[in-house]
């Protein structure tokens, strides 16, 4: 099977999901669960009016920046903690504290200090997300095989080449898990941050329509983002996953 076919292999599954959703909506009665038709109609309206692209664009930009920053910083912290007992002893408890402080509080505090600004949002989201990436990568760093590190040492790979050819391939599954979970987490935190103190973005719209109990619109916005993630899955995460795992001895 070639890569490009694999890329689209999720489509039947998504179609099935839509069909099930439609059936469920028809059974439940549209008032309780708006079906995909109702939601897509609303989505089309909101797209035509320019509202959805506008707000989705803001949210995507925020998610994108916060995600990249959080992945890089979180991976770095996780690796350091996973490799150095001494630093781990001092910083790891902080990580756990940070990990378990509700997003709400971090967001409120950053907004209070920095005002209702874009920078405050990005910082709040990154602070919420970094511990989660770091915890996952810390576990990954703990499994790095010294045997291979010694190969790198003997053949004098130097830090960068070691990272690229020895460390990252071993961390690939952890990075993928952190990236997928991370994307969804960043997105959820961006929503909260938007609904608490921004005047645009999907979270802001969700809050508005949630107050009105306009479930189809709420779902339209959420699903627009989910669609973006599915595209990212097909074009980024899936291919990376496949090429990162093909050396394993598997059926």
């Amino acid at each position: 099977m070639t890569g490009s076919i694999r890329r689209w292999q999720g489509i039947p599954s998504i179609l099935l999901l839509l069909a099930l959703w439609q059936a469920g909506a028809m059974l439940a009665g549209s008032r309780l669960l708006p079906g995909p038709m109702a939601v897509f109609t609303v989505m089309a309206q909101e797209t035509a009016s320019g509202e959805l692209p506008f707000h989705l664009g803001f949210s995507l930009a925020r998610v994108g920046i916060a995600f990249v920053v959080a992945m890089i910083v979180g991976t770095a912290i996780g690796l350091v903690l996973g490799r150095s007992r001494g630093i781990d002893r001092w910083l790891y408890p902080w990580l756990i504290v940070l990990l378990n402080i509700p997003a709400l509080i971090v967001i409120i505090l950053t907004y209070i200090w920095m005002g209702l600004t874009e920078a405050a949002l990005l910082i709040a989201v990154a602070v919420n997300k970094i511990p989660s990436v770091a915890v996952t990568l810390r576990e990954g760093a703990g499994t790095l095989d010294r045997d291979f590190a010694e190969v790198a040492q003997i053949y004098e790979f130097g830090p960068l080449k070691t990272l690229r050819t020895v460390v990252l391939p071993q961390l690939a599954p952890y990075l993928l898990a952190a990236a997928r979970n991370g994307l969804s987490l960043v997105w959820k935190i961006v929503l909260v941050a938007e609904l608490l103190g921004r005047s645009n973005g999907v979270g802001f719209q969700l809050q508005t329509y949630f107050q009105l109990f306009d479930v189809p619109r709420v779902m339209a916005y959420a699903i627009a983002f989910v669609g973006c993630v599915l595209v990212l899955e097909a074009f980024l995460f899936r291919p990376v996953e496949q090429s990162a795992g093909q050396w394993r001895r598997q059926p």
């Binding site: 609904l195 608490l196 103190g197 005047s199 508005t208 107050q211 009105l212 109990f213 306009d214």
Partner: protein, 308 residues
């Protein structure tokens, strides 16, 4: 036999909880032949979910929402609770003295772009200055507590927020520019048009007419008590959510001013007029399929109920 239980969803430190506490403290529910059961929720949305899932019978919210839900098939009814909703505040000593001064300023708006007070303010500014504040000023939407903080720190010039949040800012010296009642008056409607009310499912109301009437009587009696007795407010102190006597005083004032004196056919007609304004500005996003106000949303829907 057993008095019927009436389940009311409230917020812990919300104004409704003061009234309910007064009812319970004076056994006004028993006197009116019902048993009051309150459930506390953390947000207005939670209370709305509770109503729609019939975890409670009555909540307090606004009538445009009830009207919209009704148009979407959930037959909700509305009975007025208070006309106190929002206030537009500016900094003490601020140069802003009228709507026209808001031009180019940052206004904090609680509740988002479809908030009723905000829409009414926009309508009024259009009528008075010919410009929509939404475009002439810079609205900043956010959670009310955060907007309060922004305002205190001087990062926004004015704030349109719910009156019990405004109370705290007023106690800190913020200047009241307009109340929503002023705005309503400015739009040519009677100032007694309520914004908030008890909302319940009509079928429930029809089945439990006596209980509902009993509840509304108890509510009216509690309001009357709170309106005349300062003693009551000492009892309520733990529920006001503040230890600042200045804020308490403002809250008491605000509550009393919100009490509705008239609820006649005229107020209902004015309500319909306001609804048209909201529908025009908020559009389908706000009102959903209910382009016009269905008068049946007001309880009781057919008799000419004359008010208190």
């Amino acid at each position: 036999g057993e008095p019927t239980a009436v389940r009311v969803g409230i917020l812990k430190f919300g104004t409704v909880s003061w009234e309910m506490d007064t009812i319970e403290a004076h056994r006004l529910d028993e006197k009116n032949g019902i048993r009051l059961v309150t459930s506390t929720y953390a947000t207005n949305e939670a209370a709305k979910i509770a109503l729609l899932t019939q975890a409670v019978d009555i909540i307090v919210t606004d009538w445009p929402w009830a009207a919209r839900q009704r148009a979407e098939g959930r037959s909700l009814s509305f009975f007025p609770y208070s006309k106190a909703t929002g206030m537009l505040l500016v900094k003490p000593g601020s140069a802003i003295g009228a709507l026209s001064d808001l031009k180019g300023k940052r206004i904090g708006v609680a509740g988002g772009p479809l908030d009723k007070s905000w829409l009414l303010l926009r309508a009024l500014s259009r009528r008075e200055t010919g410009e929509d504040v939404a475009s002439s000023a810079k609205p900043v939407f956010g959670a009310p507590p955060l907007l309060g903080e922004e305002f205190s720190q001087g990062r926004i010039d004015a704030v349109l927020t719910y009156w019990h949040y405004a109370a705290r800012l007023q106690a800190d010296g913020a200047k009241l520019l307009l109340t929503v009642a002023d705005i309503v008056k400015g739009l040519g409607a009677r100032p007694d048009v309520p914004i908030l009310g008890y909302v319940f499912l009509e079928p429930w109301a029809l089945q439990n007419r006596e209980a509902l009437d009993g509840f509304l009587r108890a509510s009216a009696e509690a309001k009357a008590l709170l309106a005349r007795s300062d003693q009551e407010w000492i009892r309520l102190e733990p529920l006001l959510g503040t230890s600042d006597p200045k804020v308490r005083a403002v809250l008491k004032e605000g509550y009393r001013e919100g009490i509705i004196e008239r609820w006649s056919g005229e107020e209902r007609r004015d309500a319909a007029r306001l609804y048209d304004i909201l529908a025009e500005l908020g559009g389908e996003a706000l009102v959903g399929p209910a382009r016009r106000l269905d008068p049946a949303v007001f309880w009781p829907s057919h008799s000419e109920w004359g008010g208190q």
